[in-house]
């Protein structure tokens, strides 16, 4: 752990590239990750409870349930869901909880970026103050993001249309397939580029306490697309790590874990989700560091006031939990 601690320290990260330093930042401020993960977990657990309440009275007392314990037959599950009319309601409840998590994430985004900007734990008050301060700004950004994604959708539509037309008119199916494949890669790239652009707009809004979101977006556009190579490379590398870890865990889950090992399945699925969430935060942290190194004044901690001897250095005194 000593090694990990030094690898995660600010001093050792100073010379590292943003994507490596970003990982260190996520590690140092891992409480943010855990809090978000816990909220994600709790909301999903609420959805799962709604579901299990529907199926449990029959499933727990039926011998047919053994078919689900000792394997996974999708048709057995379909039979269960078909006969459990409450399952649709449970699905709807879970969909609402998905939406709640989305709103939660939109809300805490400001606090999250503030943590990464300052690279220190925030008090609950500081964290939620930052979250609240940026919430409506980020809502406005979200609306603009959805508008910005429209052209990406149009490119997707044009790609499928072009592929379809080629499929109709070309003497070979190959050009249509290539156009579709390349088009989808372009759409993926455009989607990620737009996301990067809005990530930078959020980071800039937090760093500069920018109120005018259109101005933040315009400035972020110049920053992002003026440095697209380096920024995209950070984003892509972390995405690849996310997919590789996900694939490895999926492989273990499907190949090595026996159907009856429910606890192991639970652990692996949660690891997958942690991977997914952690790498997304890693992207945000790396982008923040990249922005600070390029465009922002070095953020210095305010001169530390005389502190009581027992308070750790660099950690402000808090009355309650830190984030």
């Amino acid at each position: 752990m000593a090694g990990l601690a030094s690898w995660g320290s600010e001093v050792s990260n100073a010379d590292k590239s943003p994507w490596v330093a970003g990982l260190g930042l996520v590690w140092r401020r891992q409480s943010v990750l855990w809090w978000i993960f816990v909220v994600n977990f709790v909301l999903a657990a609420m959805g799962a409870v709604t579901f299990t309440r529907q199926v449990s009275p029959e499933l727990d007392y039926s011998l047919e349930s053994q078919a689900l314990v000792h394997g996974f037959n999708p048709f057995v599950l379909s039979n269960l869901l078909m006969e459990q009319h409450g399952a649709a309601a449970a699905g709807m409840a879970s969909a609402c909880l998905v939406l709640v998590f989305f709103i939660f994430m939109l809300f805490v985004e400001g606090g999250l970026l503030e943590v990464y900007r300052l690279d220190r734990s925030l008090t609950k008050g500081e964290f939620f103050e930052a979250s609240g301060r940026f919430f409506w700004r980020f809502v406005r950004l979200l609306i603009m993001l959805l508008i910005a994604l429209i052209p990406v959708g149009i490119v997707y539509g044009l790609t499928t249309r072009a592929s379809h037309l080629l499929d109709e008119r070309s003497p070979s199916p190959v050009p249509g397939i290539w156009v579709l494949g390349i088009g989808l890669l372009v759409v993926l790239f455009l989607g990620q580029a737009v996301r990067l652009w809005f990530d930078m707009a959020q980071i800039r809004a937090v760093a500069e306490d920018e109120r005018a979101m259109r101005r933040a977006l315009g400035r972020a556009f110049k920053i992002t697309f003026g440095n697209l190579g380096s920024l995209y490379w950070i984003y892509l590398r972390i995405s690849i790590v996310a997919w590789l870890v996900m694939a490895a865990l999926l492989w273990i889950w499907t190949r090595l874990v026996r159907p009856e090992w429910i606890g192991v399945s639970f652990l692996l699925t949660q690891l997958m989700l942690l991977d997914w969430l952690g790498t997304r935060l890693w992207q945000r942290a790396s982008e923040t560091l990249w922005y600070q190194r390029r465009f922002a004044e070095v953020v210095k901690e305010p001169e530390a006031a005389p502190t009581p001897p027992l308070t750790p250095v660099g950690e402000p005194e808090t009355a309650d939990f830190n984030i």
């Binding site: 039926s62 499929d167 999926l250």
Partner: protein, 680 residues
């Protein structure tokens, strides 16, 4: 036809194949003819066609009663997507009465916006096309009769009358009839000479083109069937398939010389023409339809399989990019040939051609024609998803349950698709293992029989199986009942009469009715005869009714016999006596006798049989043991049961399945939430 989404025409009758000496002689003759055929093909200088030979001669007995003889000469225009052809049809009047009226199918006219077919598609969809779908001119198809001559009676072109026997839609042009000046006497022949022009649609309903791929099917004027003292010639509907008489086909098709072709029947010759085309001639006997396919991109893969009736050549016409599926195609077709040969009867033709449609032509896949089937795959098809195998098996099964046992698919579709789905489940399980005959991927496992049962449950009570195909509520109901329910009914029937008896019954049915047009009654009679059981009670409910079968264990309980004592002694295992009761309930209206297995905590078991006539039944036991569980139909023989979960009840709970599903549910919700949060 596959659900949604599944020859050398022998010269001698296959009865003669039972004689080893004769079979040996025939094989020698056959070998000579094969060599002659190869020489003929080589002389033609074209290796593009599927190899095959005409095996005329030595005919002592035909396999079928040959009512029709078609001679067709066709020319494909690959640019205009048209076929121009002349047809000479000789009809043998075996009806025992004079005939002065002849109806003909014009199937390709279904692909027009005003046809009954398209009306029905618009209303409730069909295979590969959803309801409310718009009209696209690329799907326009037509067959135009240019001239119609009755030999000896003159030109009848202007006297053809379009008829609509099913729905009186005057805009439907899929059937016409001609009234002759002089009737055809019983036993006499009549010859029709017809010139026609086909406009092929972009692949739709198992026919048409896609780029330079052509599947030319349902493409010629086909005479109706004199059946049950009347002409049977229905319009082409969104949910119906075909019905025709057996006979012979001599077909010549002229195509560009670089095209690889495959067809029903045997290749007789290939001749190169001066205009960079080639004319391919085929001959086929004892079949009732003829389809052919052409594409310059096919790769021909050949293999062979030997069964009880001799060697069957396997021709796979593979589309580009599908090379990874070759072994899968070959393995499943050989396995299927083997199981059908062993279980149901010999495959009497000497070839089977598998057509692998190209990218974008999946609507041409999953269809059966005599000795030619269309399959389907993609370049990415994972091994554990047995789609390639399932489609190929299913379409081959139709060689028996459509090709040879030629039932009326308009009126009794279940006898083709349903019986075939049942045999599909049996063959797939035999080839790929119980529990994994459809899916064995990423820890998920499923049987084909499971999938058919779920298909049935999707629309369990809408229509009786026996309904005319075009009268079903919609496409989903047709698929659920015709494929899923019939297969599930027959799997349940197998539970009643036993697997071995069922197999013998199916064998008898096939051997007795091959090359004829049996009805549902013939099938039922055969099952009853072989099983020695009166099964009217079952078939009346299963085939002709819509009632649903659902049994449940409503309650299990163990009451102490000394319950009324003021201070009863503490319960002691093996000492205290209980009154154990099990309460069963028949939720559905389908009545079926079932077995019930009751287990007690001292290891004892009791097996009861309940006739199911009453709505409920209670079983009671006075024992020094408590009841642990009760289960209706523990062997899962009654596949028709709508809900397997309520079939059993345990005294204690086992929460493992619930926990497992909770884990999956949570994972799905968490993952979706995180994906959506990417936008935040």
């Amino acid at each position: 036809m596959l659900r949604y989404i599944a020859k050398k025409v022998r010269t001698a009758g296959f009865e003669s194949r039972t004689s080893l000496g004769r079979a040996f002689c025939l094989r020698l003759v056959l070998l000579a003819l094969v060599l002659a055929g190869v020489v003929a093909v080589s002389a033609g200088g074209q290796a593009g066609a599927v190899a095959g030979v005409q095996t005329q001669g030595q005919v002592t007995q035909t396999l079928s009663t040959r009512v029709v003889a078609y001679q067709i000469e066709a020319r494909l225009d690959p640019l205009k997507k048209t076929v121009d052809a002349t047809e000479t049809l000789t009809y043998h009047n075996l009806t025992g009465r004079p005939l002065d009226t002849f109806p003909f199918h014009l199937y390709l006219n279904a692909f027009q916006p005003t046809s009954s077919f398209m009306r029905e598609v618009r209303l409730y969809g069909t295979r590969g096309t959803g309801p409310e779908s718009g009209w696209d001119t690329k799907h326009f198809g037509a067959i135009e009769v240019k001239s119609f001559e009755v030999v000896g009676q003159g030109d009848f072109t202007k006297r053809l009358e379009l008829i609509q026997p099913d729905d009186h839609n005057l805009d439907d042009h899929t059937v016409f009839q001609v009234k002759l000046a002089k009737p055809v006497a019983p036993g006499a022949d009549i010859v029709f000479k017809i010139a026609f022009h086909d406009q092929l649609p972009e692949v739709l309903e198992r026919t048409g083109y896609k780029r330079n791929f052509f599947l030319v099917a349902q493409w010629f004027p086909k005479v109706g069937v004199w059946w049950h003292e009347a002409w049977n010639c229905h319009q082409f509907h969104a949910l119906t398939e075909f019905f025709a008489d057996f006979g012979t086909f001599d077909v010549k098709a002229t195509v560009p010389e670089n095209y690889i072709v495959g067809s029903t029947g045997d290749l007789v010759s290939t001749v190169l023409n001066r205009d960079h085309t080639k004319t391919v001639t085929w001959h086929a006997e004892d079949i009732h339809d003829f389809a052919w396919t052409a594409s310059p991109d096919y790769k021909l893969i050949e293999d062979a399989w030997t069964g009880s009736a001799g060697t069957v050549q396997i021709y796979l016409l593979l589309s580009p990019g599908h090379e990874s599926s070759v072994r899968r195609y070959i393995d499943v077709i050989k396995g299927t040939l083997d199981r059908f040969d062993k279980w149901y009867g010999p495959y009497p033709y000497d070839r089977i051609t598998l057509v692998d449609p190209p990218q974008g032509a999946l609507n041409a896949g999953g269809m059966e024609y005599p000795t030619l089937i269309t399959c389907g795959t993609t370049w990415w098809m994972p091994k554990g998803l047995l789609g390639v195998e399932l489609v190929t098996e299913h379409e081959f099964g139709h060689q028996y349950w459509y090709g040879m046992v030629a039932t009326n698919e308009f009126e009794e579709a279940w006898m083709d698709e349903g019986i075939n789905s049942y045999t599909e489940a049996k063959v797939m399980e035999s080839l790929y293992g119980k529990g994994t005959s459809m899916l064995n991927l990423w820890g998920m496992r499923a049987d084909d029989a499971d999938s058919l049962r779920m298909e049935y449950l999707a629309a369990a009570d809408t229509d009786p199986i026996s309904r005319f195909a075009w009268l079903f509520m919609n496409m989903n109901a047709y698929a659920a009942i015709t494929y899923g329910k019939t297969a599930t009914v027959l799997l349940t029937l197998e539970g009643i009469i036993g697997e071995e008896t069922m197999r013998r019954a199916m064998h008898t049915y096939f051997m007795r009715y091959r090359f004829t047009h049996p009805t549902g009654t013939d099938f039922i009679k055969t099952i009853e005869e072989v099983s020695g059981q009166k099964l009217d009670w079952f078939f009346q409910q299963a085939l002709y009714g819509t009632s649903v079968l659902d049994y449940e264990v409503l309650d299990i309980r163990s009451d102490r016999l000394d319950w009324f004592f003021e201070h009863p002694p503490n319960p002691k295992k093996g000492v205290t006596t209980y009154r154990d009761t099990v309460l069963l309930h028949r939720k559905g209206d389908f009545i079926m006798p079932v077995e019930v297995l009751i287990k007690f905590d001292n290891g004892e078991q009791a097996t009861e049989r309940w006739d199911g006539r009453d709505r409920w039944a209670r079983f009671s036991y006075d024992k020094k043991a408590t009841v642990v569980s009760a289960e209706v139909d523990p062997a899962r023989a009654v596949r028709l049961d709508k809900d397997f979960f309520n079939n059993s009840r345990t005294e204690g709970d086992d929460r493992r399945a619930t926990r497992k599903l909770s884990v999956y549910w949570m994972f799905a919700v968490q993952f979706m939430a995180q994906v959506l949060a990417w936008l935040a």
